[in-house]
Symmetry: C2
Subunit: 229 residues, 2 copies
DNA sequence: CGGACAGTTGACTATCCTCAAGTATGGTGG
DNA sequence: CCACCATACTTGAGGATAGTCAACTGTCCG
């Protein structure tokens, strides 16, 4: 989707395109000064990688947001995660991506070569343990989402989602959703209409306020009450 | 549930209870001869560990089967995985279990001290990488289940489930389900009635045959056709 | 101003859930 | 060995939640 500046040809030779930042800014792990990422950008709705492609790179979001999804042949889509500033994504089991990743909005990332990270992991137990920890954290998130998808009502799903997003944006209770209703629906296993209706219900109940469709202010107490059943 | 032989007091001192097997049989990783598991047993429906408990041990199933689940205050339950012979379970992010694990049937396991495994990981990059790989594999499984829970119909869920179980039992197309309809329902985000009805439908369509409620023979072609949409 | 697209709302439908009754199955005790 | 009970499973009828289809509104662009 969108224009495709062949993302895979550029990051390998990072010299000219963008000057390297300080190690502190571009490095992946504190104790790996040689593990430096190359800055890169994606436009809104642009694909970062597609399911089935070689998993050559790993990405850290600097600014913007990315979604990962799986899709069925008839178009049904499940978003498995949103990656916000600071998040790492693109690790896979095996040599190919089993997800598609796309930028929600114009997004800046740092690109790392997967091989290089794997080599660092085989050399440094500390790096490997950090990677293990990140994978375990992702697993916990995935399992929480499984509970939500398998056992929660539409209201509970949307409320839990808003609380989650709020937390990831600093927990101020007010934020602009970086994703469309379709993205939310495909993350929560609902339809856009149900998401929209649920927003309206939550607004009626005073659990949130909308200013425009994206800007949300939460009444976190009431929202938590919806989730905590 | 059931009798509780205080699982946590025994594995620490593995000397007397059961004679240690060969390293090959009890070890967790080939290159860690010091990482030896203690054999232990759980009765049908017995809890291995509960949500919120200290995650002191890690388990490998030798014989039998274990389920991991998360549960809401009103009893809604989501099973996040079944662990069969050979599978490792009990790793967590942080120091406490965020699941409950229970034996489906009388089950023999090997118990490992989590601390010891973590220490091995910090010493050996190879061990850490293996742990990382296992976590990544679990993550992939979890994300596939998310797609199933979020976007698939009851028929597709049950069909996919049966294909998965068949694969884990060797792919012969005939096996005895080790879990109840309730367990299946709570894994697939359905009710027992829907699971039961779906079994009946699939049997009518010739996609499977039942001999007793647990013994299943698959018509894998037709079943795959149901899943592949 | 107008077009494209995102989002909302309404009416109707379908899938799955709930409640209820009935049928196997397996273990226990006489 | 059989009767009995508890439990697992199946089936049916009706209902609720979320989905589908469609129309409409708002917003961002040029």
């Amino acid at each position: 989707m969108g224009t495709k500046p062949t993302p895979r040809s550029i990051p390998v030779a990072p010299g000219s395109r963008t000057p390297r930042r300080s190690i502190h800014e571009c490095g992946l792990f504190a104790d790996c000064p040689d593990l430096v990422g190359t800055p890169f950008s994606y436009a809104r709705e642009e694909e970062v990688y597609g399911e089935g492609e070689d998993a050559e790179f790993v990405y850290r979001v600097v600014e913007g947001a990315v979604r990962s999804h799986k899709i069925l042949s008839d178009g049904r889509r499940q978003i498995t995660g949103f990656h916000l500033a600071g998040n790492l994504f693109g690790f896979e089991q095996g040599d190919t991506h089993w997800h598609t990743a796309e930028a929600l909005s114009d997004t800046r990332v740092l690109i790392f070569q997967r091989r290089q990270i794997e080599r660092a992991a085989t050399r440094s137990a500390e790096v490997a343990c950090q990677l293990w920890g990140m994978a375990t954290t992702s697993l916990r998130d995935a399992q929480n989402l499984m509970l939500l998808l398998g056992r929660r009502s539409a209201q509970e799903r949307v409320a839990a989602f808003l609380i989650e997003v709020d937390g990831r944006f600093g927990g101020t209770g007010a934020f602009a959703l970086p994703m469309t209703r379709r993205d939310i629906a495909d993350y929560l296993g609902l339809t856009i209409e149900t998401v929209s209706r649920t927003f309206s219900q939550l607004e009626e109940n005073g659990a949130l306020r909308r200013s425009g469709s994206r800007q949300i202010t939460l009444h976190r107490g009431r929202l938590r009450h919806v989730v905590e059943n």
